[in-house]
């Protein structure tokens, strides 16, 4: 599986820069031995938005685009995987590849994983955009490690939504607010407005500014005019 998943990454256009001064062998001499020892070793240079704690290269790299010029690359190496699949999860999370993340997670022997690994995997799943898997892992981890506070918290926070009340009366004033917003878009676009039953109460550049102008915001719509 690993080779298949790794090859799927290798096939992606994730900024391999042959001969680049930021090539991994320039960053980590140990990489050369590993690469020579294992011909299937694949190294990626990834320019993620996400931060990799403690894995940043010391200097900026060649830019692949104007917006990326100041982002240092993370160098992820499949040889860092200790055989437990966690490194693959990290790679998929770093690249925001939900499909690869789910695939990698499906091949991990979860009952053998520690509580900390469950918690780490939940955070990685969130970073990868695998939200349902994050919920599943949190719930499973919390069942396996009932005393683990973080997993219990994760399971609670990521649980499916719960209907609390379905018997509250309607609020006809929302119609008047909508009508006001429709009628005054051009005048107030981009500004924050406070409305109650279609009456303008305050205008500001932030929601906090509105709050400062009002005695009470209960029943008051605070909206940026779109």
């Amino acid at each position: 599986m690993d080779a298949r998943l790794l090859n799927s990454y290798a096939g992606e256009d994730v900024f391999p820069i042959p001969g680049d001064a930021t090539a991994p062998e320039m960053l980590d001499p140990a990489w050369r031995d590993l690469a020579m020892a294992d011909s299937t070793t694949i190294v990626w240079i990834i320019l993620p938005v996400v931060e990799i704690r403690g894995r940043r290269s010391p200097s900026p790299v060649v830019a692949t685009g104007p917006s990326e010029a100041s982002i240092s690359p993370a160098v992820l190496d499949a040889t860092e995987d200790r055989g437990d699949g966690m490194a693959l999860l990290e790679i998929a999370a770093e690249t925001g590849d939900e499909i690869a993340f789910v695939q990698a997670a499906s091949e991990i022997d979860w009952p053998r994983r520690s509580a900390a690994e469950f918690a780490r995997a939940v955070r990685l799943a969130l970073a990868a955009g695998a939200h349902l898997l994050a919920r599943t892992l949190a719930a499973r981890g919390a069942r396996l490690y009932t005393d683990h506070q973080e997993l219990r918290k994760m399971a609670r926070l990521l649980a499916p939504p719960r209907i609390v009340r379905a018997d509250l009366p309607p609020d006809p004033s929302i119609q008047a607010n909508r009508a006001w917003l429709q009628a005054h878009t051009n005048e107030y676009r981009g500004q924050w407005v406070a409305l109650r039953s279609g009456q303008l109460l305050a205008v500001g550049s932030t929601a906090q500014e509105l709050k400062a102008q009002l005695e009470n915001i209960e029943g008051v719509l605070l909206a940026r005019v779109l």
Binding site: L126, A127, G129, L158, P161, R178, T206, E218, G219, L221
Partner: protein, 153 residues
């Protein structure tokens, strides 16, 4: 209100929505309704392709949310962009112009946008973790958004 053929109700509440783009940089209109987030009345976008209630940071600032109740400094992949923030549960009220308003406890993500990432979007109601346990329907003729619980399932 909307009913199934056998007389069961599909939706308990309905409201009208605004239908327009939510930022200067986009042309695609969004369905925008009025909601309450932890009691604060605000606008939110129906975003069935998203996850969680992504709470406008300016609204979140007004809620006095206790960080101790949150899963801190997680990064969430929002439409391909990784954004730091925290996850917690909040009460979201779908306000009805007719019928009944509904209160749902949902998973919310409150972004802490980085300086280079200006956040000028309203809150987003995604499917996973937010709308997934509700029925909802849209009538584009009247710009109506219908919503209901799954209580009779």
């Amino acid at each position: 209100m909307l009913m199934f053929q056998d007389g069961r109700s599909f939706a308990q509440g309905a409201c009208n929505y605004l239908y327009r783009p939510v930022s200067a940089g986009e042309a695609t209109p969004r369905i925008i309704i009025e909601v309450q987030i932890e009691g604060v009345q605000a606008q939110a976008i129906v975003d069935t392709g998203g996850a969680y209630l992504v709470c406008d940071p300016q609204i979140a600032d007004l809620l006095n949310l206790d960080p101790a109740d949150a899963l801190g400094t997680d990064r969430l992949n929002i439409r391909g962009v990784s954004v730091p923030g925290f996850i917690r549960r909040v009460f979201l009220t779908l306000l009805a112009r007719e019928g009944q308003s509904i209160v749902v406890e949902v998973t919310a993500f409150v972004p802490h946008p980085e300086p280079y990432l200006k956040w000028d979007l309203p809150s987003f109601m995604g499917l996973t973790g937010c709308l997934e346990r509700l029925r909802f329907a849209v009538d584009p003729v009247t710009d109506s958004f219908y919503f209901g619980t799954l209580a009779d399932v």
